[in-house]
């Protein structure tokens, strides 16, 4: 399924938990998805030869209290295994939450992954919020 097709299907979909999606394929080729259960932190979807990557940029390292960066990294490593379907990482100076799916993942499973990732974002940020500026 192309990202364009995925955008079309997401925009027409309503999940069992009443989540809607607002998906736009940007000129850069990134599919930007806003889930109604967390409109503040969009999920960016990109595609490689073998996988779909769903990435939520969380915050920049300069948004962390300067003396708390190590503590934050440790907390993120500790909570990462407990987060369903998503992992935490750093891309350049940005902390990200991301999930990877095979290219032949069923649409229903992609939707589930996105919905869970949007929820995970809120959960993770609530935990580490005290360490942010």
């Amino acid at each position: 399924m192309s990202l364009n097709e995925l955008a079309f299907k997401l925009n027409a979909h309503l999940t069992a938990e009443d989540t809607r999606f607002d998906a736009v394929l940007a000129e850069s080729g990134v599919l930007e998805v806003i889930c109604s259960n967390n409109e503040e932190f969009p999920i960016n979807i990109v595609k490689t030869d073998t996988q779909l990557l769903a990435i939520t940029p969380l915050f920049n390292v300069n948004e962390v209290k300067p003396d708390k960066v190590n503590e934050l990294n440790e907390e993120l490593l500790l909570i990462s295994p407990a987060i369903p379907l998503s992992s935490i990482g750093r891309q350049g100076d940005s902390y990200i939450l991301f999930g990877a799916m095979a290219l032949d993942t069923l649409f229903e499973n992609i939707v589930h992954e996105l919905e869970v990732q949007a929820e995970n974002t809120v959960d993770v940020l609530q935990v580490i919020e005290p360490l942010l500026l």
């Binding site: 409109e39 960016n44 030869d49 990557l53 940029p57 948004e63 350049g92 919020e129 942010l132």
Partner: protein, 231 residues
């Protein structure tokens, strides 16, 4: 050494902008070239394998035919001996020796061909492994490139909003507020549903003559008045 080490070095070095090379372009070219070389080699090996396999099958067929000839001459030699014709038996035995020598030559040729076929097969497997390994290495590079692409737009936004402190906290607050609104609406919806089903139950009870006073209207008033005047 895998490409992951190069990726780490590049990312540590700050190659985080889109378009900036994740790893040395030369390394990517080498990986790609190795894949193409391996594919070419597999193509050629498969072609020569077809020819070798055909020769191997042909030889095997010839050996089988020679072995069957040997069997046939052996039984004829026995018959000649039984008939007391020693000279004929010797002639047949000489023929058998010739055929056996030919079969041994072809057998050696067949073994050499089989060994070559096995060698080519193992070479193909080796090349296929190289293709898969290099393919996975390239996939790692592509993954990081795509990650950069997906993160870059938001990074720009982060930079733009850096002036505003507590960006994450404020955003979280808005999310929580929205979720609370949604929960309130759900609760209201449930209450409405409860009310609606409650009314329905009352109506059913009334219809069944259970619960609330079912007598009404003038007749019940008259009844009440009659009782009163009788007192």
């Amino acid at each position: 050494m895998g490409i992951l080490k190069n990726i780490l070095t590049a990312v540590r070095g700050g190659a985080s902008e889109v378009g900036e090379s994740i790893v040395d372009a030369n390394a990517v070219r080498i990986l790609g070239q190795e894949i193409r070389d391996a594919e070419d080699a597999i193509g050629k090996a498969k072609q020569s394998l077809t020819g070798l396999k055909a020769s191997e099958i042909k030889l095997k067929r010839e050996i089988n035919s020679l072995e069957s000839d040997i069997g046939s001459y052996e039984s004829k030699a026995v018959q000649a001996l039984e008939a007391g014709n020693e000279a004929l038996a010797v002639e047949v035995a000489e023929r058998i020796a010739e055929i056996e020598s030919e079969a041994a030559e072809k057998g050696a040729e067949h073994s050499a061909l089989s060994a070559q076929v096995n060698k080519i097969n193992s070479m193909i497997r080796q090349r296929e492994k190289t293709i898969q390994k290099n393919g996975r290495e390239l996939e790692k590079i592509k993954t990081v490139e795509q990650l950069q692409k997906a993160t870059s737009s938001m990074s720009t936004n982060f930079a733009a909003t850096n002036a505003s402190e507590h960006r994450v906290s404020k955003a979280l607050e808005r999310v929580k507020k929205k979720q609370a609104n949604w929960e309130d609406r759900m609760e209201a919806g449930e209450w409405m549903e409860g009310e609606a089903s409650g009314d329905d139950l009352e109506r059913k009870l009334k219809d069944a003559g259970i619960g609330a006073n079912t007598s009404s209207g003038a007749s019940s008033v008259l009844e009440r008045l009659k009782k009163k005047s009788g007192q």
